[in-house]
């Protein structure tokens, strides 16, 4: 209870404080401190749920179970490390003249507000508030994507706003339909949108309405997940915004959107007998994996390249959650964790590499290993990890997903294998000349932030070799909840 308020209160207070002081010299430190406080609070909340089990608080408006508490901890952790990374990164951007004091103030304040909206989306028990928080997360990041005010960034932000706005409007319609189905059983008061209440009566919800509702919800939240063919905004927003924003978009926002889809899937599975939600999610997921894998080869911009890789990985997770069952859910949750950690680490290194080269164009970034071994190695290791090389955690989760798919959905495995192979070939062929070859890079005016990169990669490596028992137990509980 007090922990939930703290988890939500710190980023909100941070956003308010940074709205006034965000342009000052010490603003990055305030940003880090607020994120650290959020992290500590979320760890306390995690410990509480771990000891006491699921928690309903504040007149049932908040609900914490193993599924969302693990995402809360992950969100707060990546939020914190990205804040650490953004301190030198944004200072270098300021020195390069790409942002001024007023925009830094906007950046810092919106960064915290974005954290708040994501944590609210995760913690709320009310599906209506979940929608409101998801929309607010879009609004908080729109102005961050256009922070540099270049024509390309404005276009990206516009696309992001309109496509996600339209998408999320579909999700609202889905939510209305869900409310409509639930209202008959639970009454028209505030109770009929509470997930726990809906979960209790999911067997009696009207199947036709729920099927239609799920289509709208999947399309709506799926737009934010970046599922093909609704993915158009994603590469632009990732490539044109500041790198810390790309890292949190890819590492966190996509997860939260997928979380919303999975929560809805649980309800629909209870109401609609034949695997309706299952087939839809598997289809969309597989399509995303395949299309994104083939588009990877055509990318010329380093951040766009990894944005497409995010689409591919979100597709894998959607596929796995769709397939369902204890093993696939376990693997999908693990994949969520390792993808967040690896992808944000990659964005940190790519961001610094682009700053050194003065461009994001892959062909113009050369010889990172020679001049800055830390950035070069970070990129090589991160790329190997995201491509599913053992012994990193992505290998473990992808292996689990593939073996489950061979059993449960054998028709899908060839597609998955081919897509993973294509992705490997195209990404590796592009990253290899970036790190080897004749250096083209210059020195940075500040020390790059490499600690978050190696902390993330270290964690991913650990998760590939050994999953701590409490974490495994947690994943198992969450996987059981999802069903």
């Amino acid at each position: 209870m007090i922990e939930i308020l703290a988890v939500l209160g710190f980023p909100l207070a941070g956003a308010a404080a940074l709205a006034f002081t965000g342009a000052r010299r010490e603003a990055p430190a305030v940003n880090i401190a607020a994120s650290l406080a959020t992290l500590v609070a979320s760890l306390a909340l995690t410990a509480r749920v771990f000891v006491d089990g699921p928690l309903l608080a504040l007149d049932r408006q908040f609900f914490v179970d193993p599924f969302n508490v693990f995402l809360v901890a992950l969100t707060a952790f990546v939020g914190f490390t990205t804040a650490v990374f953004s301190r030198p990164y944004m200072r270098i951007e300021e020195r390069h003249g790409r942002v001024n004091a007023a925009r830094l103030r906007l950046y810092h304040s919106m960064y915290q507000l974005f954290q708040f909206t994501m944590l609210l989306a995760l913690l709320t028990n009310n599906l209506g508030i979940l929608w409101v928080a998801m929309e607010a997360a879009t609004l908080a990041t729109v102005l961050l994507v256009s922070l540099y005010r270049t024509p390309a960034s404005l276009e990206a932000a516009w696309k992001y706003f309109i496509l996600c706005g339209v998408g999320i409007a579909q999700a609202l319609f889905g939510t209305i339909l869900l409310f409509f189905a639930a209202e008959k059983l639970l009454g028209g008061g505030g109770g009929a949108l509470l997930w726990t209440a809906l979960d209790g009566v999911k067997g009696q919800l009207e199947p036709t309405v729920l099927s239609i509702a799920f289509v709208f919800l999947l399309v709506g939240y799926g737009t934010k997940v970046g599922l093909v063919p609704l993915h158009n905004w994603l590469p632009d927003a990732h490539a044109e915004g500041p790198t810390p924003v790309s890292a949190v978009l890819s590492g966190l926002l996509l997860n939260v959107a997928l979380y919303a889809v999975v929560r809805c899937k649980v309800l629909v599975d209870g109401a609609v007998a034949h695997g309706f939600a299952r087939d839809l999610m598997m289809g969309f997921g597989l399509l995303s994996v395949v299309v994104a894998a083939f588009l990877l080869a055509r990318q010329k911009d380093a951040k766009r390249l990894f944005a497409y890789s995010s689409i591919e990985h979100m597709g894998i997770m959607t596929f796995a959650f769709g397939m369902g069952g204890p093993v696939a859910n376990f693997a999908a949750l693990l994949h969520m964790t390792v993808h967040s950690l690896t992808k944000s680490a990659i964005f940190y290194t790519v961001g610094h590499a682009a700053q050194k080269a003065g461009t994001q164009v892959i062909e113009d970034i050369r010889g990172l290993l020679t001049l800055s071994p830390a950035i070069g190695w970070g990129l090589v290791l991160g790329t190997l990890a995201i491509l599913g090389m053992p012994p990193f955690g992505v290998f473990a989760s992808e292996f689990l997903i593939l073996t489950t798919a061979m059993n449960d959905a054998p028709w899908a495995t060839p597609f998955l294998l081919v897509a993973l192979g294509v992705a490997f070939a195209s990404v590796f062929a592009k990253v290899q000349p970036m790190v080897f070859g004749e250096p083209t890079t210059k020195r940075l005016p500040e020390r790059p932030a490499m600690v978050p990169v190696f902390v993330h990669l270290g964690l991913v490596l650990m998760l590939g070799l050994w999953i701590p028992p409490f974490l495994a137990e947690w994943y198992r509980q969450a996987a059981r909840l999802i069903g």
Partner: protein, 222 residues
């Protein structure tokens, strides 16, 4: 066919007006008239919510009608008018691509929405269930409007009118969402429009126009 009670008839009339306005917006070429149409749509929505509130005695629907009136009839049109004055795009007449084709697609969408709504409205116990199809149709028409428009402000109005359709769906199928959710949605819409206002100036500064054709540099795979 038995005669419907008066309030239900009025609501059906308002629903028809809502749909008609959605079609009018689809073909309107002047931005200022588009805003007036949007305000009229908001008014129809507010009145129908008010009638449902009066008939069912649901207190929170009065609030909902009040919010709609304040936000969609007064605040948002005012903000948009101001924006257009400041941006000086008042006489921005947009050439629409092929109005008859758009209308035909619109009619197909309406038929589709009515078909989709049939199984749902049969389950509904509300007095206004017949209007669910219309609500869904106006959502679809706004969607179509966003796709066919090239300029920034008409796209936004399309977006807002989609929100109108969604609200109408919420009142006609369920007597409105819980209060806290409605407040949150209203806040999101308001903040969204304010952010867009900031955004228009940024686009304008960069491109000297609000024509989104300039925004087509980021193509797939480049």
């Amino acid at each position: 066919m038995s005669a419907l009670p008066l309030h239900a008839q009025v609501i059906n009339l308002l629903a028809a007006i809502l749909l008609l306005l959605a079609f009018a917006m689809l073909t309107q070429r002047r931005v200022l008239s588009l805003i007036d149409l949007f305000a009229a749509q908001g008014l129809a929505l507010a009145v129908s919510t008010g009638i449902v509130a009066a008939y069912t005695g649901q207190a929170h629907l009065w609030w909902s009608a009040g919010i709609t009136l304040a936000l969609k009839v007064v605040a948002l049109p005012w903000i948009l008018h101001r924006l257009i004055r400041r941006l000086d795009v008042k006489w921005d007449v947009e050439r629409l691509v092929n109005v008859p084709t758009t209308m035909l697609i619109g009619i197909v969408l309406v038929v589709f929405s009515f078909n989709l709504a049939v199984p749902i409205s049969q389950l509904s116990g509300t007095i206004t269930r017949a209007t669910l199809g219309i609500a869904m149709a106006s959502v679809m028409l706004s969607f179509l409007m966003m796709i066919t428009r090239r300029k920034a402000i008409p796209q936004v109005i399309g977006f807002l009118s989609m929100e109108n359709g969604l609200f109408f769906a919420a009142t006609s199928a369920t007597y409105g969402m819980p209060m806290v959710v409605e407040l949150g949605i209203a806040l999101d819409v308001l903040v969204g429009v304010l952010i867009l206002g900031v955004f228009f100036f940024q686009i304008r500064e960069q491109f000297d126009s609000l024509d989104l054709q300039h925004l087509e540099k980021l193509q797939e795979g480049e």
